[in-house]
């Protein structure tokens, strides 16, 4: 049984900081396609269009019939552990710090054998005996897809397994900054992270003279501390980073300005500028102030810094003309988040992008349902961190638009005119 994770002890200040290392990150183009599906929370393997063979690892041609007509097929992950080994040595710095490692061969129900990490609670493999396991695909610290086999049924403290935690960003015992604790989504996020066992939740408070209903109750939840944070003010962002930047393990940037204007129905640019100032420049200011310490602390304890979450919008992918300036600001933030992801990658900090559809708050009053409840958004964010997923599209509208966007961004652009 996995030992329950303990709250990280304060770091011994005279010992050098442990510097983050990464597992090997080079992948072929075929393997990157696999990583892409895992980043979105899907477990797919290559399937040959001609002979039907499922193969692993991903390659450019079918190992059975040499066809290059390969497609991707969802797999269940169910299989049998047929053998295992304990790795005691590696020349890779990342693995060197983590040996011994349990690795196993699992025969999946789809008929392919995969090499996978083994969760500590998987029974020991035995000759002539099949041990049922569940194989999961997750992103490793390098941001590439990797496999881990879990026991067939859940075990106590299963999420606390050492190797599984390398692939996930569970909020348990982590110190979390929610950049806007005031809004409906902010209040829901604060509550969700408290419920998920966060050690501290810092709830950012801008313009404290405007306090909406509910905020007072949220700020009194256990482990919640309200902190001043004006994303439009570089000094304010720097001041907060100076105060807690060296402690934040998960940063959730949910602050946004959301108005429902296109181009022609509002004169001037001041509201659009206010959206850009928070939704885009706010992210840039946060990244410059909080990014370095978050990167530096990615290996400093058993519960190190782990993730950066951006609450974007599905309209970052394809503009909703009735909310054109908002869509543009989210598209800018999405673009910047890709650079952030690339800069965070070296430390193994996961950048999670959240693309919700319309959220059921005061700025979507004229949009018909379905709309995403703030609590559902918050739940999806926590789940993404626990599952180690990189991009999520919570809610029916987001799912629908994302599917259409993947099929044809150009068709969707036309369809958005009538949304």
């Amino acid at each position: 049984m996995t030992d329950a994770l303990k709250r990280a002890a304060p770091r011994n200040p005279i010992l050098p900081l442990r510097v983050p290392t990464l597992p090997p990150g080079q992948r072929s183009r075929a393997a990157l396609r696999w990583t892409a599906s895992v980043a979105e929370g899907r477990f797919e393997l290559q399937s040959c269009h001609d002979c039907g063979q499922i193969q692993y690892p991903p390659r450019d041609a079918c190992t059975n019939c040499l066809s290059i007509r390969l497609t991707w097929k969802p797999v269940s992950g169910r299989g049998d552990l047929i053998s295992e080994t304990l790795l005691h040595h590696s020349n890779e710095l990342y693995y060197r710090a983590r040996v011994p490692l349990r690795l196993g061969l699992v025969r999946l129900a789809e008929g392919v054998t995969v090499l996978t990490h083994l969760h500590g609670d998987c029974p020991v493999a035995k000759a002539n005996e099949s041990i049922p396991v569940r194989v999961r695909a997750h992103l490793d610290k390098a941001g590439q897809a990797a496999l881990i086999a879990l026991p067939a049924t859940d075990t106590p403290n299963m999420a606390d397994d050492r190797m599984l935690r390398e692939m996930t960003s569970d909020p348990k015992f982590r110190k979390v900054l929610i950049t806007d604790g005031k809004s409906a989504t902010g209040q829901a996020l604060v509550k969700a992270f408290v419920d998920a066992g966060a050690d501290i939740v810092w709830a950012g408070l801008s313009e404290p003279w405007k306090q909406p209903p509910g905020f007072d109750a949220i700020s009194k939840l256990p482990n919640v501390t309200v902190v001043p944070l004006e994303l439009t003010d570089p000094r304010s962002v720097e001041d907060l980073a100076g105060s807690i930047g060296g402690k934040v393990d998960i940063l959730v940037n949910n602050a946004e300005v959301h108005r429902a204007h296109g181009i022609g129905d509002r004169r001037g640019t001041e509201t659009a500028r206010a959206e850009m100032d928070i939704n885009y420049f706010g992210l840039l200011r946060l990244a410059q102030s909080f990014g370095p310490a978050l990167r530096a602390r990615a290996a400093d304890s058993a519960v190190p810094s782990t993730a950066w979450v951006n609450i974007l919008s599905i309209y970052a992918l394809s503009a909703l003309p009735g909310q054109g300036t908002f869509s543009a600001s989210k598209a800018a933030a999405f673009s910047l988040s890709q650079t952030l992801r690339s800069e965070m990658r070296g430390a193994g900090i996961r950048v999670v992008n959240v693309f919700p559809g319309p959220i059921d708050d005061e700025w979507t009053q004229t949009l018909p349902p379905p709309k995403l409840a703030p609590a559902a958004l918050a739940k999806a964010v926590v789940k993404a961190l626990k599952d180690g997923v990189e991009d999520i599209y919570p809610g029916d509208v987001a799912q629908d638009l994302f599917t259409k966007w993947q099929e044809s961004a150009k068709v969707l652009e036309r369809e958005m005119w009538d949304q």
């Binding site: 313009e207 404290p208 003279w209 405007k210 306090q211 004006e230 439009t232 003010d233 570089p234 000094r235 304010s236 001037g268 001041e270 509201t271 206010a274």
Partner: protein, 265 residues
Amino acid sequence: MSASDSPAHVLSGVLDALASQNLRVVDLSQTLSPRFPQIVLPPEFDQCAPFRMEEISRYDGRGPAWYWNNISFGEHTGTHFDAPVHWITGRDLPNAATDSLPARSFIAPACVVDCSAQAAQDADFLLTVDRLRAWEVQYGRIPEGSWLLMRTDWSKRTDPVAYQNFDAAGQHTPGPDVAAVEFLVHDRGVIGFGSETIGTDAGQAAHFRPPYPCHAIMHGNGRLGLQCLCNLDLLPPTGAIVIAAPLKILHGSGSPVRAIALVAG
């Protein structure tokens, strides 16, 4: 005109008095800082940008030998000046914007009405004609062309939440009532009205009839406004001279201002 009354002599006398501290300079301006709150409108309206400061360089790779900032703000940020064109009632007046107002209007005597005790008791305290007449009994008639400065000690509220003082019914800050504004404009001919709060009007002035009298009536009659003033408690009831010159913004409706007062003794 005797030699001692000549303008040149008056000016050198001012300098002598400043040097000997027979004249004091009182700073009436709050520091222009990102921490200072800005006026809040309901969210469906476009908002006044708060004061913001972004570093251009600080003796570093962005500029090795110099430190400087880009600043941005709304015209009505920090301690600021309201020109008549700020309000729709003043839009057609001549010479009523920050660039066209005569520079002469930036220097004027001040009458300071102490409402600090009342404002401490009641955040919605309103300055009335009766209160102004009672002040005149004590200190004399309000001279034409003077500022009427309402001292409330509101500037001593250094916590922005207490300074803004919002609840679900909106803002609660003191200001003049409608009749007091009519009286000051039409019966006393003041140059303008100054307050320590975030606006010249009371926090609840949206519900007055007419709404926002200190904007609608003052500016409609070519009068000025000063708000977010401080140190009014250091001014005498009469006799101080206020110097408050807005930035010369082309057709500007107002401007942050470094307001100062010259005070005898």
